[in-house]
């Protein structure tokens, strides 16, 4: 082996020379050893001394800093650098979250640089601050998202491929004019449809200007109802004759007991401050109970008790509660006698004396099935003792609130749970008293917010379809009837839908049920001949458009908005920054299109967006609801952002009615609260539309044969990261609340799933593949795929975006013709691709 270091080092040479001078083979060199020892002593003294001088060394260390840093803290640096040009108070861009909150928007150099929220010094319950949620706070990430549409686009590939080319606005308007005119001429205006869309409620952005334009050029197929409230909207009047069944929310502070049934105000929002008011009610002594298949954000923060319940079985628990209340004599007999109809045989309307009354159904006198807590236990998985206790508490804690959330009515037979809940309020006498709550849709009594005040005019086309049945109207519109499909205004539609102009809406290919089915329908150009989509982003709906028009955001145009179902405020939304690239407001797009149609003057009435905002404030809001509101000129100059009418004494719905039912009859056949509905009876569909509220097993449920193939129920709750499908691309919101499927450990374990694993969720209608999050905060047997995620099919058709409507069914509810989008059965398994 060759030796390391071929050439002897200098030291070695010296050693060898030294060795030579010694005798023997002893390699020890005592001379160098002595030298070493002496040096060692010398040097250790030096070093030792130095070590003792360490404190001095530290002083030497002190000045090792860059020049001019001193001790400047982060905050001081921030303050020095940051100087906005303006801070403008406005509303959060008015999406359909349920909140209408105030933002303070900082603008520097024409760019929004910071977003704060309401900081008015007063924060009392009568006029609380309107604080924004995380979606409002994260809005800059949406406002300046790189994917924002910039130019009009024309489709080049096939529908759904997402292949577009840029065109000019002139060409875009020409295409719109040509195609609309063509359809009008060949079919008629009723073949044109401007779909439901809630992307903007600031009046100048949104489908409202489009509806106005259509109404000036012959109209378009109308719709009624909504995706939010189909069942509760239709069913509530059958009980109360009105939708205004809600007290002003400050009245909750008078309550002693609040049931939040399927209601999650902390997350979806349902009115800015609703969650805050519940907190205040608790501080005032109310006991709160959350009944929900999920341990939701509201259940965590607002409830004294959480009761998990199997999805779709709420009516059973309500019936059982009624059983307890009736058999234990906890009913408010006075209210029932004076103000109700149909409670028992003695109260049935003329001609219906032998029909099944409400009590008959609850006690089982007609069908032989008493709706006992024990009966309900097996259906709902809520212990009988709990049902009894909640019933007693609700009936006797008084006054009590039973707040019905919208998730449980967005299901098969959702009408039943609405009526059942309202009647529970009635029989316990919680109607028309402070601290009570009549349930039902609960629009605020005494005047609810308007939402849309932009005048759309009258639709020359009288035909209206239930909003949920637009795909039927494409495929077989001319066969749709009033009776089966809920067509209104005419007996029969005279056209299928041939042209769709979607504005501020993602219904087409994301929010409507059974996306794969819709995709097939829309891909067929012989069915819908032309699709135009107007939006901020290339949404899944826009992917199926023939023409994409880039709209600006609500920060980029003047507008105005007011409260939610409740609320006493109007918020002025000035234009804060300019629309980028070639984006325009929906109003402007429609106004310029109106020119092509020759109706520009009628459309604009000589006003631009700012002038329309002024009109809406001065001529609409001030005249109809808020005479004390400052005029636009002063309102906008003040930069207050919001006008609020304080709620001194909260109004209570049905107060006058309760005191004097004969003098203030309800708009029902009997003039009273209808526990038995003759109108429903006359529909002669007792199996699906009974005259008294009944628990009906859903057409996709864990009790049906479908459970073998699809053993899990799926719900799609309204997620904090999005407002429906808005903000799906907001990195800050999606980082905090990512799109995952929530699954219970009991269901995850046999499938060998742990949090983060990719899973596929499927049924006959489609397949979704997203990561899972294993959590105890959902019932075993139920999974949750938060709604609103963007449909994103891969090459094999599997939706990678996590859109729950890949799994939902287009079947509609019997009475309201509404959307049962939470009635889904699925299977889940690990997915390794």
């Amino acid at each position: 082996m060759k030796e390391e270091g071929q050439f002897p080092s200098m030291q070695q040479k010296i050693n060898m020379e030294n060795k030579k001078s010694d005798s023997g083979g002893n390699t020890h060199d005592s001379k160098s050893q002595t030298v070493n020892r002496r040096n060692f002593v010398q040097w250790s003294t030096v070093i030792g001394g130095s070590l003792l001088a360490l404190p001095a060394f530290e002083a030497l260390a002190e000045p090792i800093r860059a020049e001019g840093t001193g001790r400047r803290a982060q905050g001081e640096l921030n303050k020095a650098d940051y100087q906005p040009d303006a801070i403008i108070r406005t509303a959060c861009p008015a999406h359909n979250c349920g909140g209408k909150c105030l933002l303070k928007v900082h603008v520097t150099g024409g760019v929004i640089t910071r977003i704060e929220t309401d900081d008015r010094p007063y924060d009392g319950v009568d006029d609380p601050q309107l604080r924004a949620c995380m979606r409002g706070r994260a809005y800059r990430k949406r406002q300046y998202h790189p994917d924002r549409l910039k130019y009009p686009l024309k489709r080049t590939g096939k529908r759904g491929e997402g292949k577009f080319e840029r065109i000019s606005w002139d060409e875009a308007y020409s295409i719109m004019y040509d195609r609309i005119t063509d359809i009008k001429n060949r079919y008629g205006n009723s073949a044109i449809y401007v779909p439901y869309g809630t992307g903007s409620y600031n009046n100048t952005n949104g489908r409202w200007p489009a509806a106005r334009l259509m109404n000036l050029i012959g109209g378009a197929l109308g719709y009624y109802n909504s995706y939010s409230w189909a069942c509760i909207n239709i069913a509530t009047p059958y009980v109360y004759g009105t939708l205004d069944t809600g007290n002003q929310r400050q009245d909750w502070l008078n309550s002693k007991y609040i049931i939040m049934w399927g209601w999650n105000p902390a997350e979806m929002k349902d009115g800015t401050n609703s969650d805050f008011f519940i907190k205040k009610a608790r501080e005032n002594g109310a006991k709160t109970v959350c009944i929900d298949p999920r341990l939701s954000m509201s259940a965590v923060a607002l409830a004294d008790e959480w009761i998990p319940i199997r999805p779709g079985t709420d009516t059973a628990m309500m019936s059982a509660m009624a059983y307890v209340i009736i058999t234990e004599n906890l009913t408010d007999d006075d209210f029932i006698k004076r103000c109700c109809s149909g409670f028992d045989k003695s109260q049935m309307p003329a001609g219906y004396e032998n029909e099944e009354s409400y009590s008959d159904h609850i006690l089982g006198t007609h069908d032989g099935v008493p709706k006992t807590p024990e009966w309900a236990e097996q259906i709902t998985s809520v212990p009988a003792e709990t049902i009894k206790r909640i019933a007693r508490e609700y009936a006797t804690s008084g006054p009590a609130v039973l707040y019905q959330g919208y998730g449980m009515q967005r299901r098969a037979y959702g009408e039943q749970v609405v009526i059942a809940g309202a009647i529970l309020a009635a029989i316990t006498g919680n109607v028309g008293i402070p601290g009570g709550w009549a349930s039902g849709l609960a629009n605020q009594v005494g005047g609810a917010p308007y939402w849309t005040v932009f005048p759309m005019g009258n639709n020359p086309v009288r035909a209206r379809i239930p909003v949920y049945l637009w795909t039927e109207a494409i495929v077989r519109g001319k066969e749709m009837t009033a009776e089966k499909e809920g067509v209104q205004g005419v007996d029969r539609l005279d056209n299928n839908i041939k042209l769709i102009w979607s504005v501020a809406s993602n219904i087409l290919m994301n929010q409507h049920s059974n996306v794969n089915r819709t995709a097939k329908i829309l891909k067929d150009e012989k069915l819908v001949e032309f699709i135009a989509v107007q939006d901020n982003f290339l949404t899944p709906s826009a992917m199926y458009a023939d023409l994409v028009l880039p709209a600006c955001t609500q920060f980029e145009v003047w507008g105005v908005t007011d409260g939610w179902k409740y609320g006493e405020e109007v918020m002025l939304m000035p234009q804060i920054v300019d629309p980028p690239f070639e984006t325009k407001s929906d109003y402007r797009i429609c106004a310029e299109l109106a020119e092509k149609f020759g109706v520009a003057d009628q459309f604009t009435e000589g006003r631009n967006e700012k002038e329309w905002t002024q009109w809406m404030i001065d001529e609409y809001y001030r005249r109809r609801r808020f005479p004390d509101m400052p005029v636009f000129r002063l309102f906008s100059a003040s930069n207050d952002g919001v006008y609020v009418k304080k709620v001194e004494k909260p109004l209570v719905a049905f107060e006058a009615f309760r005191k004097d039912p004969e003098g203030n009859p309800l708009r029902t056949p009997s003039g009273k609260v209808e526990l038995f509905s003759p109108r429903l009876h006359e529909m002669k569909n007792p199996a699906e539309i009974p005259a008294v509220p009944k628990y009906l097993q859903e057409w996709e449920s864990p009790f049906g044969p479908e459970v073998k193939k699809y053993p899990l129920q799926a719900v799609g709750h309204h997620y904090m990261s999005r407002v429906h499908s808005t903000h799906n691309n907001n990195p800050w919101t999606m980082e905090a609340f990512p799109q995952v499927v929530f699954i219970n450990p009991a269901d995850a374990e046999p499938r060998k799933l742990k949090s983060g694993d990719m899973v596929r969720i499927w049924n006959d209608r489609g397949t979704v593949a997203i990561p899972c999050r294993v959590t105890k905060r959902i019932m075993p047997g139920v999974v949750d795929i938060p709604q609103g995620a963007w449909f994103n099919p891969d090459s094999s058709g599997i939706d990678r975006g996590g859109c729950i409507n890949t799994l939902t069914s287009e079947k509609w509810t019997p009475l309201a013709k509404g959307n049962p989008q939470h009635t889904i059965m699925v299977q889940v398994e690990k997915f390794n691709k």
């Binding site: 082996m1 030796e3 390391e4 270091g5 002897p8 080092s9 200098m10 030291q11 070695q12 040479k13 010296i14 050693n15 390699t27 020890h28 060199d29 160098s32 030298v35 070493n36 020892r37 040096n39 060692f40 010398q42 040097w43 250790s44 030096v46 070093i47 060394f57 530290e58 260390a61 002190e62 090792i64 800093r65 860059a66």
Partner: protein
């Protein structure tokens, strides 16, 4: 823990360097190796290279490497600051010693630099241990941490030192190694049996850590490897690589056990 690979390399390499320094000092102090033979000089160069490598790694893992000099601002309170100071002193000393060795110079410095080096090396080991012995990291706030570091120092250091020696020097190295192995086994026993913090998993990780550190000894100690090493340079390299792998594996297991409280 995020991005710990550079720290893994840094701690292992600097501890191995400390170990080689100690082995070097023991070997030359006990007179096992006559004078300054090639292997001892090579050892000094290797130490310098290892120290440069670890300081460079520490430097490059910083978010702002060019501010590294500020790291000396807080040596009285921050163990990390003192660690960087010790490492800097150690590197300076080692560079000087390497330089002098390379030039074949003997002077006052060459006899006192080793002493300085030992002091700085021990200080480095102590402060490095203090850096990791944090109350807020329960899995590291146990006796396991100092033991792991000392174990790595001794095992990797002496193993590398032994690899650098030639056949004629093996007998002396074997003696040294035998002592080290006994100490290591004792330390391992203490490590495994002492109360090591949270769970059985941790204890198993600790055991694995110890075992992988010991792999280095087994490799060297076996007579077969010792002879093989002398027959072929390739074996030396392979053995060296095996030592590195086992040491890095042990350190990787250490980092895997990081458990900050809130997680």
């Amino acid at each position: 823990m995020h991005n710990y690979f550079s720290l893994l390399f840094f701690t292992f390499t600097s501890q191995a360097a400390i170990g080689v320094i100690l082995a070097h000092v023991v070997l030359s102090g006990t007179g096992s190796i006559p004078g300054d033979e090639d292997s001892m000089v090579r050892m000094r160069h290797l130490i310098t290279i290892m120290l440069i490598a670890s300081l460079a790694t520490a430097f490059l893992h910083l978010g702002k490497p060019f501010r590294a000099v500020y790291a000396l601002n807080n040596i009285m309170k921050s163990p990390l600051s003192m660690e960087i100071a010790s490492l800097s002193v150690l590197l300076a000393v080692s560079l000087a010693y390497s330089w002098f060795s390379h030039r074949g110079v003997i002077n006052y410095f060459t006899s006192t630099l080793p002493v300085l080096a030992v002091i700085a090396a021990i200080l480095l080991l102590l402060t490095m241990t203090a850096v990791y012995y944090l109350p807020s990291v329960p899995s590291w706030h146990t006796a396991r941490t100092p033991l792991a570091f000392v174990l790595t120092t001794i095992s990797a250091g002496t193993a590398i030192a032994a690899i650098m020696l030639k056949e004629s020097e093996v007998r002396q190295a074997s003696l040294l190694l035998a002592v080290s192995v006994s100490a290591a086994i004792l330390l391992a026993a203490v490590t495994l049996t002492a109360k090591m913090g949270t769970s059985t998993g941790r204890a198993i990780l600790t055991g694995l850590q110890t075992v992988t550190s010991l792999m280095a000894f087994v490799l060297i100690f076996s007579r077969f490897f010792l002879t093989e090493m002398n027959k072929s340079r390739h074996m030396t390299v392979i053995t060296g690589v095996l030592v590195l792998i086992s040491g890095i594996l042990a350190r990787w297991l250490f980092f895997l056990s990081y458990d900050n409280i809130i997680l």
